[in-house]
């Protein structure tokens, strides 16, 4: 085992955005620098002075993969700042849209990360070695997308969702279709679990997360939450949205263009692994069963991907229920939830949303309808420091197990992918 070690991954493969990892081992200490090398985009700055109602539309452009969460979180924040209360149906549709994103997004993440666990290395290889499974998963993905379109029209950057409004006219039959489809999807996902478990090998078995603090949304009701007014931490601390700044601190590190977020000065993590632990009691029984089937180890960061699968399965079922419930509330034909203009008021609002990768915070201050201040904290930022801490522990653990340098690099890359395969959100 080498005394000193210097490894660099210039660009982590199979992620969106540019990220480099520098690994340095100097005798006893291991240092992992997680650097987002992509240039910042100044979303928060250029919205200044523009109508607050534009914020959701623009903010959704932070990420083309998880646009809905930025869109909806921004809507939540603007609604709070302007003191607008959406109709319950609008809110329900928004939750549906948000849920769909979590399902679709996490499902794709699972598909992308799975080759790391099956030993195929990449998706193309995976599709060759498991053609039937792959085809089935692709089919599920297609069906999820199709159902999503019935609610929101276009998939990426949907123009349908607006402040206190849902633009796309909704029909009862469409909602019923969505309900049926998602119930089927959910069922299939549970069915697939068995064959998945066979090929889903653990990575770094035995490795333990050195910083087990996590953060989730506090469910406003007994249900997997999409939006909330409170943040909950694994240490039991609960804080209201407006006061997030008191516990979450953003910092700029020299080696990265992205900021990092700390909870009371300590790293914490967000995402499905956190949610599955926090919302265990809210999960459907099949989902709880699934955790066992897949053998999810919540202390292993790599098992975030398994947690995601569980979440997808659970949420699919939940979405099916929700859409059928909503369908029952619509009497017949088409329902319009497109609202007119929003008053140009002043105020401040913080939106919290369950992003596929964790918790998203949008914070706006509005004066006379114009945006005065905007701050966005993305899950990628929250996880940024945790990746480093976990990475350092992982490198020490691996080296202690006598893993060679090339494999160490692969492990670190896989770890990055397990957290979040999509980095542009970090620089917004």
């Amino acid at each position: 085992m080498a005394e000193a070690l210097k490894l660099t991954i210039e660009e982590v493969p199979a992620v969106a955005g540019k990220v480099s990892v520098r690994i340095e081992k100097d005798r006893a200490t291991v240092r992992v620098d997680f650097g987002v090398t992509q240039d910042p985009r100044f979303f928060e700055r250029f919205l200044k002075g523009r109508p607050a109602v534009y914020a959701p539309h623009v903010m959704s452009r932070i990420c083309g993969v998880c646009s809905v969460v930025h869109l909806t979180c921004s809507i939540e924040a603007v609604e709070k700042a302007l003191g607008v209360e959406p109709k319950p149906e609008v809110k329900a549709l928004r939750e549906l849209a948000k849920g769909f994103e979590n399902v679709q997004n996490n499902f794709v993440h699972v598909l992308m990360a799975l080759p790391d666990y099956t030993g195929d290395g990449n998706v193309v290889q995976f599709s060759k070695s498991h053609p039937q499974l792959f085809a089935r998963m692709m089919d599920i993905n297609r069906r999820i997308l199709e159902a999503y379109r019935r609610i929101c029209g276009r998939f990426i950057h949907t123009p349908s969702l607006g402040v206190a409004s849902h633009g796309k006219p909704i029909t009862k039959s469409e909602l019923e279709y969505v309900g049926r489809e998602m119930a089927r999807v959910s069922k299939e996902l549970y069915e697939l679990a068995g064959s998945l478990a066979e090929i889903w090998k653990p990575i770094a078995q035995g490795f333990e997360d050195p910083a087990p603090t996590y953060c989730v949304l506090k469910p406003p009701r007994e249900e997997f939450p999409m939006f909330s007014n409170e943040l909950a931490f694994s240490d039991g601390f609960v804080v209201s949205a407006e006061r997030y700044g008191e516990v979450i601190e953003e910092r700029k590190l020299p080696h990265s263009n992205a900021k990092i977020a700390l909870y009371r000065g300590k790293p914490f993590y967000v995402g499905s692994r956190a949610r599955m632990q926090a919302y265990f009691t809210l999960l459907a029984s099949e989902a709880r069963e699934l955790i066992k089937t897949l053998g999810v180890d919540f202390s292993n960061p790599f098992d975030n991907v398994k947690a995601q699968y569980v979440e997808v399965a659970h949420l699919s079922g939940l979405l099916a229920e929700k859409s059928l419930e909503l369908a029952s509330r619509i009497r017949s034909g088409v329902a319009f939830f497109h609202e007119g203009t929003v008053p140009a008021k002043s105020g401040e609002g913080v939106g919290l949303a369950t992003a596929p990768r964790g918790v998203l915070i949008h914070h706006y201050r509005v004066r006379d309808g114009k945006l005065e201040y905007a701050n966005v904290i993305t899950p990628t930022v929250m996880n940024a420091r945790h990746v480093e801490v976990a990475g350092e522990a992982l490198v020490s653990w691996a080296l202690s197990k006598g893993v060679d340098e090339a494999r160490v690099k692969d492990l670190v890359a896989a770890l990055v992918r397990a957290y979040d395969p999509c980095l542009p959100c970090a620089v917004h």
């Binding site: 523009r50 109508p51 539309h57 029209g153 949907t158 123009p159 633009g167 497109h338 203009t341």
Partner: protein
């Protein structure tokens, strides 16, 4: 019966059939605007021009075949000529799609897509009828001044147009559009401010600003 060869496809037709009819039979698409059988003899729009192998041009709507003949209908130069021609036609069209009942079935809109001609606003693709226009509901939709071609995705999904495909640059059209914004009670400055989000560095934005200022400064 005579044999007509159009773009390599051979059809048999009655003598006296127009090339256009023969092309339809052969499954070759030729654009046209002016000919209305029984009402107008055509040959005005010049979009249906076809070429003989010798290079002579004829409007297919009007040229009747009496013997075996060959025509080319889809050469690049023909399409280029059609495009230039169509641009010329549009130059003197008012293009007020937002007020036009025909927008959903307008051959100009279809041709502008086929010939990749810019300058038709998103309104032309908006699924909403003129009396359901978002602008009437007070929503600042940029459809009137934004370049079409997206099939009005946002409007179809229930949003308003943000003009992501860039501005229309024809001044007379912008002028009418801004006048309409004003008429409907929008502040021209707000329109420009919204447009700025996507168009700040778009080539035609300077024109948009210029026209907006001109319209805005009018009483």
């Amino acid at each position: 019966m005579v044999k007509v060869k159009i773009d390599g496809r051979v059809v048999e037709v009655e003598p006296g059939t127009t090339v256009l009819e023969a092309a339809e039979k052969a499954g070759v698409e030729i654009p046209r605007l002016c000919v209305v059988p029984g009402l107008y003899e055509g040959s005005s729009c010049r979009l249906c021009l076809v070429k003989t192998p010798a290079g002579r041009l004829f409007p297919s709507c009007n040229y009747r075949v009496y013997r075996d003949e060959e025509f080319l209908a889809s050469t690049p130069d023909l399409w280029e000529m059609r495009r230039v021609n169509f641009e010329l036609l549009l130059k003197f069209h008012r293009i007020e799609c937002w007020a036009c009942e025909r927008k959903s079935s307008c051959p100009l809109v279809e041709l502008s897509k086929e010939l990749l001609v810019d300058g038709i606003p998103v309104c032309s693709e908006c699924p909403l009828p003129p009396n359901e226009c978002l602008l009437l509901k007070g929503e600042l939709c940029l459809g009137m001044i934004a370049q079409s071609g997206c099939n009005a995705e946002c409007l179809v999904s229930g949003g308003e147009c943000w003009g992501c495909r860039g501005p229309i640059t024809r001044e007379d059209l912008l002028e009418r559009a801004f006048a309409r914004y004003k008429e409907l009670g929008f502040d021209v400055k707000d329109v420009v401010s919204k447009a700025e989000i996507y168009w700040n560095s778009a080539p035609g934005f300077a024109t948009v600003k210029k026209v907006a200022e001109r319209v805005g400064s009018r009483g």
